[in-house]
């Protein structure tokens, strides 16, 4: 059981969409980052261009890995991205710059997926949703899953007027087609940027339901991550915590999930709120 608590390998490599360099063209290079690079700029600032808000590193405009101009639709998002760049010290740690990564993905769309494909990928996760998959053994874990996950499933069923349920079968729950359709229609109301964020959060948490809980502000990021990692937390409590593995994974998952959630909200915020804030 110790083996289950320890990671099989060293920490994951930096996310694939972080970019190989912010300024130059990447040519035929794969969509992958160098990991770290010396900080080469003094000042970070934001400016408003035709396509939206841009990030300036000294006098140079930030570009995506595919050499497109880095523009974001929301001022708050631009400020948060600028903060990521400005908080880098001697070296630029791309693997910590989750908002930048998400923006690059939205701008470059390296997997070349359209809205329908993104939605389909997101809803497909419902078939293997973490909180619908229940164990029977050990009883303590089964009880924990019931107590912690049932309320969220119930919330989703009420909120979206669907049937989801849960299962101990290896095949998982039987999700009715009408349920999937409801979620497809709901996700269709989000723009492409927000959808990239939603799909990202779902793949991090391995749960569509937990992700919707976050997007709908029903649960916090900390709670969503805890619920996603329920079995790990149970094992940690039984067998002990290994800081360099468990906490490392926990912090990374929290950071990515928080970034994804914030990204979704900032990309879908109402213009009235934005207008009011820009008046200051």
């Amino acid at each position: 059981l110790w083996a289950r608590s320890l990671p099989a390998r060293l920490p994951r490599p930096p996310p694939a969409a972080a970019g190989s360099g912010p300024l130059g063209p990447c040519g035929r290079r794969a969509y992958a980052p160098p990991g770290e690079r010396k900080r080469f700029y003094q000042n970070v600032s934001i400016s408003q261009g035709e396509g939206g808000f841009e990030i300036n590193l000294d006098h140079r405009k930030l570009k995506t890995p595919q050499a497109k101009l880095f523009t974001v639709p929301s001022e708050a998002l631009a400020i948060a991205v600028a903060t990521e760049w400005d908080s880098q010290k001697d070296t630029i740690k791309f693997y910590t710059m989750h908002l930048t990564t998400l923006c690059n993905t939205a701008l470059d769309n390296p997997t070349q997926r359209n809205k329908t494909q993104l939605i389909r990928a997101a809803v497909k996760f419902l078939e293997t949703d973490t909180i619908c998959y229940r164990v029977e053994e050990p009883p303590a874990l089964a009880e924990l899953q019931k107590n912690e996950w049932d309320p969220v499933v119930t919330w989703a069923e009420k909120r979206y007027n669907v049937t989801i349920g849960s299962s101990t079968s290896i095949l998982g729950p039987n999700i009715p087609a009408s349920t999937k359709e409801t979620f497809v229609n709901h996700l269709a109301s989000y723009n492409m940027w927000a959808l990239q964020g939603i799909e990202f959060v779902i793949t991090q948490l391995k749960s569509l339901i937990l992700s919707m809980g976050l997007i709908d502000r029903h649960i916090t990021v900390e709670k969503a991550v805890l619920l996603s990692r329920l079995e790990e937390e149970y094992q940690i409590r039984r067998w002990g915590n290994v800081e360099w593995a468990h906490d490392y994974d926990l912090c990374e998952l929290r950071a990515r999930t928080a970034a994804g959630t914030l990204f979704v909200h900032l990309c879908s915020e109402s213009s009235t709120v934005k207008h009011k804030l820009l008046q200051d």
Binding site: L10, P11, I46, E75, A76, I79, A80, A82, T83, D86, S87, K93, T96, H98, L99, R217, H218, I219, T220, V221, E222, K223, E243, W244, D247, Y248, C251, E252, R254, A255, A258, A259, T261, L262, H265, L266, E269, V273, K276, L277, D280
Partner: protein
């Protein structure tokens, strides 16, 4: 609605994280100014929190989680996975 605690606590913690991220000139940083302006614009004027305030509070709590987790993750990376 997510259990978030007092908005003031979130704001203070968030500003603290931004101070940590920005260094000496944190008060002039766009993020610091934006967060303060946003909280001022949505100041609680009645007992009942309006939807916009709840949204802002949730965003602030999420951003706080992001900054905090990145900092902790980096610290763990330096401690256990750094090279020398």
């Amino acid at each position: 609605m997510a259990a978030l605690g007092a908005p003031l606590c979130t704001l203070r913690a968030l500003l603290r994280e931004l101070r940590h991220a920005a260094g000496r000139s944190y008060r002039d940083s766009p993020a610091y100014r934006y967060v303060l302006a946003a909280f001022r614009a949505h100041r609680v004027t009645s007992e009942k929190l309006c939807r916009a305030q709840q949204e802002l509070h949730f965003q602030a709590a999420t951003y706080l989680c992001l900054l905090r987790s990145v900092r902790e993750h980096e610290a763990l990376h330096r401690e256990y996975h750094g090279r020398g």
